[in-house]
């Protein structure tokens, strides 16, 4: 099967982008809950513009942040991205500059944050942040481990999202292949009986074509 055809079939059966967004949001909501934090967010790194983009936010009041962009050179998130190293900070007092990435966009200045790179293979896909854990709780290495586990999960989700986007991009301008994608998608949505019939039909088509 050609790469275009594979991409077409894959794009047809891949979940819609909204499903990945749901997964990312679920990850940040669980992260916020587990750490008893005030907020949590995921930045996706956009290679084309060298920016970080808000891809998920746990707080329902801050969904408007989605899609907002900050330069990858700014603040803690930028350092975590470039150094590929996690960082946990408490007790920020009144220094706004540290959190310019978040604070400028939201008007919300956290007192503390955890930031961890989202690493998949050798690539860094973005940054997961958890803001304002309870101020009286002392951070532990066990929490760092937990944070790393969430980051791994989020990185897998981001990688899937990127794959889906690439598959769809491969279809742009290729009408014939897009038709294959639609067939694959339609087949994927069918009830069990109809799906079996559809597959049987495709097998017959395959026999005729080959």
């Amino acid at each position: 099967m050609s790469d275009d055809l594979k991409a077409a079939v894959a794009a047809g059966v891949l979940p819609a982008e909204e499903r990945f967004a749901e997964l990312l949001r679920s990850i940040v909501e669980v992260a916020r809950s587990i750490f008893h934090a005030r907020a949590s967010s995921i930045f996706l790194y956009d290679e084309d513009t060298d920016e970080l983009v808000f891809a998920a936010v746990a707080n329902p009041d801050e969904q408007s942040l989605l899609g907002m962009r900050i330069p990858s050179s700014k603040g803690i998130a930028g350092w975590v991205l470039s150094s590929r190293t996690p960082l946990v900070i408490d007790d920020l007092k009144n220094d706004l500059r540290f959190a310019v990435d978040v604070a400028e966009q939201t008007g919300y200045v956290p007192q503390g944050l955890m930031a961890v790179p989202l690493l998949h293979d050798e690539r860094v896909l973005g940054v997961l942040q958890v803001l304002d854990r309870p101020s009286n709780s002392r951070f532990s290495l066990a929490e760092m481990e937990l944070l790393g586990m969430f980051a791994t999960q989020a990185a897998v989700a981001l990688d899937l999202l990127a794959s889906a986007r690439r598959a769809r991009a491969a279809l742009d301008g290729k009408g014939d292949m897009a038709a294959v994608a639609r067939v694959a998608a339609a087949l994927d949505r069918l009830e069990e009986d109809k799906r079996a019939a559809g597959l049987a039909l495709l097998r017959e088509l395959e026999r005729v074509l080959s």
Binding site: Y45, E47, D50, P71, S72, S73, G75, I76, G78, W79, L81, S82, S83, R84, T85, P86, L87, V88, I89, D90, D91, L92, K93, D95, R97, F98, V116, P117, L119, D121, E122, R123, V124, R138, F139, S140, L141, M144, G148, A151, T152
Partner: protein, 282 residues
């Protein structure tokens, strides 16, 4: 002149540098023989880091931060269009706070060490790996005694280049101290045997550190809830191997200020012998 060169020069035309003639043996007396018993008093007693050059390869260091004090030199690394390294005086200080934090940890343990800042982060993500490589290469050329690297790269394409630079540093007696990654990922240069790699323990004493019998992480130093310098003359509480690493850099500087010209191999041995789970608990 080093012992190795001395041994070679007596027989320049006769033997290659990698052999040792019987009559040349007296010429390679060690510069730094270790005593029968290496303990914390021998290694660190009264040491302040004076005369030792420690480089912080990071996001820059804030000028005149009260917890850092004087910075002996600050350089910003960038690349021109052809990929050539540009090392210019750094007038921007710290773009994030992280480099200042590392410098502050070093100052708190080795108060008289000469701290140099080499900025390789902060210009955006694109090209950051190449700038890191160029910055490390430049720093090794400057003959710093210790280079603190509280960062790593996951780019496999850079690993061999980094390994070459780390080996050059090793043989010219520049100690590279690198953060182990906090997450289960493959990253560099901390995994190399030519560097000292550092993870975190949860205790509060900055001079408590442990040797790890199960490398590649070789030592654990204080890295959890550490009060560190940050931007704007502030201090914050921070956690990460990033802050354990400069503790080991600073302790290495203390040792070097008493015992100059130890090789990285000897220095690593001394750190092992005085670590809290081997020879000394303070």
């Amino acid at each position: 002149m080093t012992a190795e060169v001395r041994a070679h020069s007596e027989h320049d035309d006769e033997r290659p540098a990698w052999s040792l003639a019987r009559e040349a043996v007296p010429g390679i007396a060690l510069e730094n023989p270790l005593p029968d018993r290496v303990d914390r008093e021998w290694a660190l007693g009264g040491a302040t880091g004076k005369g030792v050059k420690v480089c912080v390869l990071d996001s820059g260091v804030e000028v005149d931060h009260p917890a850092v004090g004087a910075v002996a030199g600050a350089t910003a690394i960038s690349l021109d269009e052809d990929g050539n390294t540009i090392a210019a005086p750094d007038t921007e200080g710290d773009l994030c706070g992280h480099g200042t934090a590392c410098a502050g940890v070093i100052r708190s343990i080795a108060p008289d060490a000469e701290i140099y800042s080499v900025r390789v982060l902060g210009a955006g993500f694109t090209g950051s790996g190449k700038v890191l490589l160029a910055g490390l290469r430049w720093a090794v050329e400057q003959d710093y005694d210790v280079i603190n690297m509280s960062l790593s790269t996951t780019k496999k394409a850079f690993s061999e280049l980094l390994r070459d630079i780390a080996d050059i540093a090793y043989f010219k007696r520049t100690l590279l101290v690198a953060s182990a990654h906090n997450m289960p990922v493959e990253s560099f240069p901390w995994r190399f045997s030519s560097v000292i790699s550092v993870g975190s323990h949860e205790e509060d004493d900055p001079l408590t550190f442990y040797a790890n019998p199960d490398p590649p992480v070789e030592f654990f130093a204080r890295g959890v809830n550490v009060e560190v310098a940050w931007l704007g003359g502030e201090t914050i509480t921070a956690t990460g191997n990033s802050f354990a690493t400069p503790a080991i850099s600073a302790i290495a500087a203390l040792v070097l200020s008493k015992h100059a010209r130890l090789t990285p191999f000897q220095l690593k041995s001394v750190l092992y012998l005085i670590s809290s789970n081997v020879g000394g608990r303070q």
